[in-house]
Amino acid sequence: MTDLPLRTADGRPLKAALAAAQVRAKRHAFLLVAPLLLFVILTFILPIGQMLQRSVYHDGLSANAPSLVAWFAANPVGTAPDEAAFAALAQDFKTMKAAKTAGIAATRVNYTLPETRSLFTATARVADQLAPPYKEAFLALDGKWGRPEVWGAMRQASSAYTIDFYLISMDRERAPDGSIQQVPENTRIYIYLFVKTFLMSGLIALICLALAFPVAHLLAVLPMARANLLMICVLLPFWTSLLVRTTSWIVVLQGQGAVNDLLIWLGVIGEDGRLAMMYNQTGTIIVMTHVLLPFMILPLYSVMKTIPPGYARAARSLGATSWTTFRRVYLPLTLPGIAAGALLVFILAVGYYITPALVGGADGQLISNLINFHMTKSNWSLASALSAMLLVGVLLLYWLYDRLIGIDNLKLG
């Protein structure tokens, strides 16, 4: 007897019919998520991808100075610029003057070597008068054209794809011989700020946890009516504008603010001893903790709500002390909530911008404030290199978190 394939009522093989049904179901599912997918791609993935591309791509010089790029390509690193190089430069300057693009090229070179922007723009202004021999003509215009650093910077900028912006993001630069070295100590900033941003975010997550745990517990065990009232108190600041909350804190904490006035009135501190709680790191931590607190309370609450009170009672009846009950029974059960809240607060804090900008003063600034600085100072490439590094940092932590705790254990509410 041969094995006949199972068939459906209409005679088709069951296997094929099942597969077809599955394909149909998948297509339906895809069509359902398609609008959201399209939306996310158009408004999120594409722009972010474009921004990230800028971190390795800047064609300011390469697109506007083709002859020079050709000369660099034909001559190896270290070749002293000859007459042909200056002739190529002169030709490019004439084109750039006509197209008014010298400023764009200058901007790119200036990123690598400060003080070259005006060299470019000043030369472009008189580009029409350049005549052979070009080397002499350029050197007569400005002696800087003979400097190897300038030619080194142009060579680096002559390739549209570059890792220069990542070097800057890691406080590194290229030495004149092409090797990579640390920048002088007084301009090192980014590594320090990355570390500081992560440490401060961790600290804020810890403080949030310490403050949120009792509140969430109370919310979970109180009778419904009172729990609701308390919940509104938790959510009220959540619904208030971020700017209003932040500026309220300025009023409360500043040197001449409410807290200081109260402490002086109570005689705790003197007029000269007013505490500096605003426009510094302390201010940033206090205000960010307050702003992010609901993101810790809500996941904790949602987990605690599902823990049957019987577990703790059972532990107590079996002879456990209240501390042991908490440590061995209650705390492990709330772990998914703790993990979710901590991750949420931490990741939000890492990218926080407005609060440190308003209350951070000098030492309360985070990496996001520097990213904003470069966005507004129109060095978008550096801003996106810094953002990319921040993104990688967060992804690494996320991966670590997954390995240690497991993403499956996450409970966001």
Binding site: K100, T101, A102, G103, I104, A106, T107, N110, Y111, P114, E115, T116, R117, S118, T121, N186, T187, R188, I189, Y192, L193, K196, L243, Q254, G255, Q256, Y279, Y353, I354, A357, L358, G361, A362, D363, Q365, L370, N372, F373, M375, T376, K377, S378, N379, W380
Partner: protein, 357 residues
């Protein structure tokens, strides 16, 4: 906060743009109000074309994003001199045909009527403003600060200081406080040792500095008693002192002054009207009208031909302007060439210095 402001204003401008009003972005506060009174309102009354003022902490910031995104919602912006040159070089501003600027009221051609440097490829000066410092004369009595060095003297004048967050202006001021003559400031800053010297001077007061960003903050910091002395845009302090009657005293020693420029971003929706607006607003009368509202000096000689009186009808403006001879005694003209080149590099250094404990 700035981002939010820009976003919300950009959204609201969409509605305005439909009526083809011109949108002007300036620095807000007393300065923005002065331009609204002197330029925007009379322009709307004269031409029937509405003009809307938008505030920013620094109008240079949104322009690149707007031009690159191809969504320019501004017609006119008011920029610092070095920014006007830098953005022009980067092709982000429309060139202005200076030959169309009206002659002075005395018939002198615009090019000769304007002070040197007041017209650039993409900008026309609206006024000359200065970075000065001021103190509260009810809080500091007896010996009062009179020099830039006094600002840095914590022993003689204890208390917090307010400084604008950024390298520009602060480095020059620090060097002058350290005894460098105004004429030598940029030569000194041009050397690495000179930059070190400026930062070393800033180090001496670093732990006592409150940093400000918006022009309206310094008078507020001074009024709240958060600082005993602060640098500021001179017009804001003048406004607080004369218009609001605050007991603030301006010290002109070590002032750094420069032109403020009207520019048109590339691709402005109402470019032609924007140009007309600038030609009109920077005429003899336009500049004069602004200088009657706030103590920034007009950039045309003809605007100063007859005595300038403040809008209160009694205050003579001349001694309050950065360009008054007695105020220029130890003053410095900001070098656009220096800042166009080194703005990025020195601000990096400044940021690093700021966050390093």
């Amino acid at each position: 906060m700035k981002k939010l402001l820009i976003l919300t204003t950009a959204l609201t401008t969409v509605a305005f743009a439909a009526q083809a009003d011109i949108i002007v972005m300036s620095w807000g506060g007393a300065y923005g109000a002065a331009q609204t009174e002197a330029h925007l309102k009379p322009w709307a009354a004269k031409t029937g074309i509405g003009a809307v003022m938008i505030d920013s902490d620094n109008p240079a910031q949104p322009i690149k994003a707007m031009v690159e995104a191809g969504n320019v919602t501004l017609d006119v912006a008011n920029l610092e001199y070095a920014d006007a040159i830098r953005l022009c070089d980067e092709g982000l501003l429309e060139p202005i045909d200076a030959s169309k600027l009206p002659a002075g009221s005395d018939g002198v051609a615009a090019i000769d009527d304007f002070l040197p440097g007041a017209i650039t490829e993409c900008g026309v000066s609206t006024d000359i403003w200065a970075n000065i410092f001021a103190y509260d004369s009810t809080k500091i009595t007896g010996t009062v600060p009179t020099t830039a060095a006094d600002f840095y003297d914590l022993a003689k004048f204890p208390g917090k200081r307010g400084l604008r967050r950024g390298a520009k202006g602060n480095l020059e001021f620090a060097l002058m406080a350290d005894g460098v003559a105004p004429g030598d400031v940029y030569a000194t800053l041009g050397t690495p040792e000179g930059v070190d010297r400026a930062f070393a001077k800033l180090d001496t007061i670093k732990s006592d500095v409150v940093w400000w960003e918006a022009g309206s903050q310094p008078p507020q910091l001074l009024a709240d008693g958060e600082v005993v002395m602060t640098t500021a845009y001179n017009g804001r302090m003048f406004n607080a002192a004369v218009a609001e009657g605050k007991p603030f005293q301006i010290v002109w020693d070590g002032q750094v002054y420069e032109n403020e420029m009207y520019v048109v971003p590339k691709g402005a929706p109402n470019k032609d009207q924007a140009m007309e607006f600038i030609f009109w607003a920077t005429s003899t009368e336009g500049l004069r009208a602004q200088a009657q509202q706030i103590s920034y000096g007009p950039a045309r000689k003809s605007s100063m031909a007859t005595e300038l009186i403040y809008k209160d009808g009694t205050t003579v403006m001349a001694p309050h302007l950065p360009t008054a001879p007695e105020n220029l005694a130890n003053g410095l003209a900001s070098s656009s060439g220096f800042w166009v080149d080194r703005d990025g590099e020195l601000n990096e250094r400044f940021n690093a210095w700021l966050v390093a404990g």
